[in-house]
């Protein structure tokens, strides 16, 4: 990665984190923490598929539940991974945060409406699936883009990254849908908190 990309990534990530923190309310802090922990652990789980082994990312789930607050959650997860396991490293922390959290926010805006419609089960499942897989797709495109900006040829780099993440997209979509359904049944306020405009209590 070239220094320009690293600095730009860190700057944009910092802006995203600032927006996320501004939107963060006291009562939402625990759910951000839990999802941050889920994100932190998810990357450690390896699923061997064919020759390669892949790991879950869960940024789509963070996105549709947390919205902009996915930025601080992702930052914390990645920072701990970098500090404890030397994944990624501190210098690439900003770019990595941006690459994972920006798709989450995009998916929040793209598919949030599907989750807001409380009574349609199919729409709910489909938009959760789309949110989960789309976030991974956008994330891998962003990784390809940042490699391109650092001097690698875009198409080969992006192709490799996207191809490697195709199975993850399917798995994550399914997992996000299952988790969203589970949350809707057991703890709907976690989903609604981000979506339903706050009614006067």
């Amino acid at each position: 990665m070239s220094p320009g990309v690293l600095i730009a990534g860190a700057g944009l990530a910092a802006a995203g984190v600032a927006v996320g923190l501004r939107k963060l309310e006291t009562k939402e802090i625990p759910s951000v923490g839990i999802l941050s922990a889920a994100f932190f652990v998810a990357s450690l789980i390896h699923v061997p598929i064919g020759p390669a082994s892949i790991h879950l990312i869960l940024n789509g789930m963070l996105g549709i539940i947390l919205g902009w607050k996915a930025f601080p959650a992702v930052l914390v997860g990645l920072a701990l991974q970098a500090l404890l396991f030397q994944f990624g490293g501190i210098t690439t922390l900003g770019v990595n945060t941006l690459n994972m959290a920006l798709p989450a926010v995009i998916c929040y805006y793209l598919f949030g409406w599907g989750i807001r419609i409380g009574n349609r089960r199919l729409v709910f499942i489909l938009s959760a699936f789309a949110g989960g897989s789309c976030a991974v797709f956008l994330g891998s495109v962003l990784v390809g883009l940042s490699l391109y900006l650092s001097g690698e040829a875009f198409l080969p780099a992006a192709k490799v990254v996207v191809a490697a993440h195709l199975p993850v997209m399917v798995i994550e979509g399914g997992l996000t849908a299952v988790c969203a359904l589970f949350l809707r049944r057991v703890k709907p306020e976690l989903l609604e908190g981000a979506y339903v405009p706050k009614q006067s209590l």
């Binding site: 006291t26 009562k27 802090i29 625990p30 652990v41 991974q81 990784v143 490799v160």
Partner: protein
């Protein structure tokens, strides 16, 4: 009213706790072998005038067809190559200098290994010096006698080079498992304690955030 809301908040917090425990327990039960997320490692060792490298992706997966670049202490690129099926790549030492071996795997993953000049220097001195022929006949005879093998064995005279070669080969063979173990040890994935520690850190951060949020509210 105030008491009510406090109560419900406590219930919500209890549920949160339940949830996080459920999540962690589920993860840990279903995937009790946490492996590293695409962490790439390269391990290089000097053997005679050659440097062998072994590259891995994740825990134990060999990095096939990845680029290996070799730099000197001033950052000049000396040579580059690709790893084979086993993730290994060997090259002749191009220069007596601090070498930096960099692995570039796909998707921007990188790893490096440094070989200090004195490691190379020591090797170079031995292989480079021309030594006079010495007779190790008596030593071998003694060895033969002491082990009580066939007494008719002819006395052999070996050059120092040949002795060096024999020792090197035998050492290589005997040390191979240790080198492999070292290569494995350098990329041991995250341990359970670290994973749990990380989760603990996150909950700790949540606690700190809640503390400050509550204090701000009181003020």
């Amino acid at each position: 009213m105030c008491r009510n809301s406090h109560c419900s908040q406590r219930v919500v917090r209890g549920r949160h706790l339940f949830f996080c425990l459920l999540f962690t327990v589920l993860w840990l039960v279903f995937f009790n072998a946490p492996a590293s997320a695409h962490k790439v490692t390269i391990f290089a060792w000097v053997d005679g005038d050659t440097v062998h490298t072994q590259s891995k992706i994740g825990a134990g997966k060999r990095a096939k067809g990845a680029r290996v670049l070799v730099f000197d202490s001033e950052g000049n690129r000396l040579l580059e190559g690709k790893t084979d099926e086993k993730g290994e790549f060997s090259f002749k030492i191009p220069k007596k200098d601090d070498l930096k071996v960099v692995l570039k795997a796909s998707m921007g993953h990188m790893a490096e290994w440094k070989i200090p000049a004195d490691e190379i220097g020591a090797v170079g001195d031995v292989s480079g010096s021309t030594v006079p022929e010495i007779n190790v006949k008596s030593g071998i005879e003694e060895a033969v006698r002491s082990t009580d093998v066939k007494p008719g064995l002819e006395a052999v005279s070996l050059t120092r080079h040949e002795v060096q070669d024999l020792i090197d080969k035998s050492l290589d063979r005997k040390l191979a498992p240790i080198v492999d173990m070292l290569a494995d040890a350098t990329d041991c994935g995250p341990k359970m304690t670290e994973v749990i520690g990380g989760i603990g850190y996150i909950f700790g951060l949540v606690g700190v955030a809640l503390y400050f949020a509550n204090r701000r509210k009181k003020e």
